[in-house]
Symmetry: C2
Subunit: 90 residues, 2 copies
DNA sequence: GTCTCATATCGACACATGTCAATGTGTTAG
DNA sequence: CTAACACATTGACATGTGTCGATATGAGAC
């Protein structure tokens, strides 16, 4: 259980999760996540991997792009987390 | 906001919070927290300090004892966190 | 096949964190 | 005042973590 919170305990990861959760389409290409976070491609990829490993988001490869979305079974949890208070995104 | 989750991201701290939240009286003496956590007195004190600093619990000195309780304004948050799933206490 | 692009992984670094033994601080008992 | 107790703080250590540049991997385009 602490693992979930560990994944949420980094500001970059919180913004990442907030970005993914806030797109109307429900999924985002990794290529759109590098710039707004102001982190290197390697770092963003690392954080996406952490969030995926704990099951908060899911990854799907389509062609050369990787698409991420909030894990359907964790959507309620993620929403309640992000609604906790205003999260500064970007 | 990540600060809150950082405080929750350690198993020892989660058990500590769960212990404090679960006493019927609503508050616990630090002296009752050492043994069930199987950590040194210094370590428990450190974790209590972390939880207090982020405002999840409050500390009150009464005589030589320090009493802790879940911060009243965070009680709902803490309850929702701990109810998230069964937390193994002790 | 080769080239290019999107992403993941590796190696290294600085820094944060959990832990304990030892010591400090403040309170009560005598 | 002195002693004992409850707890906090300090110092040290090992381990974990965020970050990046460099490199590897895998997929489409040619």
């Amino acid at each position: 259980m602490a693992e979930d919170f560990k994944a949420l305990a980094d500001p970059t990861r919180l913004r990442l999760l907030s970005l993914i959760a806030s797109v109307p389409e429900g999924e985002v290409c990794a290529c759109d996540l590098n710039e707004p976070l102001d982190r290197s491609q390697a770092t963003v990829s690392h954080h996406l991997s952490v969030l995926t490993k704990v099951g908060l988001i899911t990854r799907e490869q389509r062609g050369k792009w990787a698409w991420f979305q909030v894990a359907p079974d964790r959507a309620d949890f993620v929403r309640s987390i992000l609604d906790q208070s205003a999260v500064p995104v970007s």
